[in-house]
Subunit: 293 residues, 2 copies
Amino acid sequence: MARVQTRVENALERSLPRADIVPARLHEAMRYAVLGGGKRVRPLLAHAAGEAAAGDIDEALLVRLDTVSCAVELIHAYSLVHDDLPCMDDDVLRRGKPTVHMEYDEASALLVGDSLQSLAFQLLAEQPLAAPAAQLEMVKALAVAIGSRGMAGGQAIDLASVGQSLTIPELELMHIHKTGALIRASVSLGAMCAEPMSQAVLAGLDQYARLIGLAFQVVDDVLDAESTTATLGKTAGKDAADDKPTYVKAMGLARAKALATGLRGDALAAIEGLGPRARRLAELADFIVLRKF
Amino acid sequence: MARVQTRVENALERSLPRADIVPARLHEAMRYAVLGGGKRVRPLLAHAAGEAAAGDIDEALLVRLDTVSCAVELIHAYSLVHDDLPCMDDDVLRRGKPTVHMEYDEASALLVGDSLQSLAFQLLAEQPLAAPAAQLEMVKALAVAIGSRGMAGGQAIDLASVGQSLTIPELELMHIHKTGALIRASVSLGAMCAEPMSQAVLAGLDQYARLIGLAFQVVDDVLDAESTTATLGKTAGKDAADDKPTYVKAMGLARAKALATGLRGDALAAIEGLGPRARRLAELADFIVLRKF
């Protein structure tokens, strides 16, 4: 994992415009938003899915996976920057640092997010990742995953649900959009960098991604309820303070923890057929469910 | 022009998610931001460039041009929605209607813009527009045009220049980014929907686009200084009130008008070699420079 994280950090560093290029302040803020922080869960998933799909891995595949990883991580970073804005979650701390609108200003944070989204699509289109027709499919998959029927739609549902008491299926619908869609795209884009696979294998990977995406969110809710701001690197206890519906609120801490463990088991079962190729995906399931921050 | 505007309006209508699909309020706001307003200058340019590049035009080409037109118009609409936010230009009126954050709320306006950007890339990737490798070039061209070194970068330069006294070259640099990059992309994406052309023809079209983009901005500054809010459909006199650098401020009204006329002449000269194929591009140069709103 550390090896992939280092590769991806270097690739992100190279993909972002240098801070001395005009407009310099915007580029500096984009780098501030992306570099030097974050667990890089989506890149780790993309790499692990590529490895599972390919069986064996060579440097050319790793380079393609780095590109896909940068695209999904730039999207993730953009969503955090916009999500932290005063008109959204209004948060001041992210990854242990002031949020972008606190360190710079609101207008800059808005443009940072907008620019990171465009840069993600630029990366997906400018480097060879697959046969051109398949690569267009990858662009489309990312666009659908993050649009109004994916990630951005999930944030709209999230905003509309403040102060509401959601049922478990309603909570699930929100998270399938808000965090699940990009996690699924990370897995499928990683897999698409490798050789074409059978529909059965792809379906297994997608099922894994769906379950692990939900587990990720359940664990997030547990950590928000149980952690301190210092260990979390972002404001702890914020969901309750903002009166947001969470799994902890909907089912209590103990049942939420049991749900996460159950989802992890189901995710592992979904990739069992892949055998040892899926070892890193299995490790990531543990990483996601057993993490402390 | 009216025929193209109607085609594009219908294509936008079909491309946007229906207002009864979850999350319904977001989809309703996206439709509010895009439909039933605007001169559709960028779609008109894309169609005219496609016609100039192809020589003769058939329904299949028109459909491809509609798709490209939707993509650039969605990007334009997203940029207006974000530009109107309180942390940016803080405007309440757009195309004769309340701006999106006034009609809905700031968070919705943020997500509307984010979602429109994604939808533009989805459209460019999901319909056949050219050979797949050329289509990836189109995705890249749009991404570069609207990112931190294009449109979003121009907005950052714009924000940083409030209260500053810019030289004419500095003003030009700002507008080449802020409005010019998307106008150039509209022309080049339109041309790329047609047959591959000689480098000389492409260079002529790009020169036309560069000049007409600047002319567009100069006329915008003139209209902002000379019009009433009622004819403009957005708040008139806002540049001066906001202490923004404009061509009118930098060179006076008469010289700004003369500049626009000169740029129009240069733009027409750049496409002279294309002959009658470029008739619509020439008409658009007049439409842009002689418009009253």
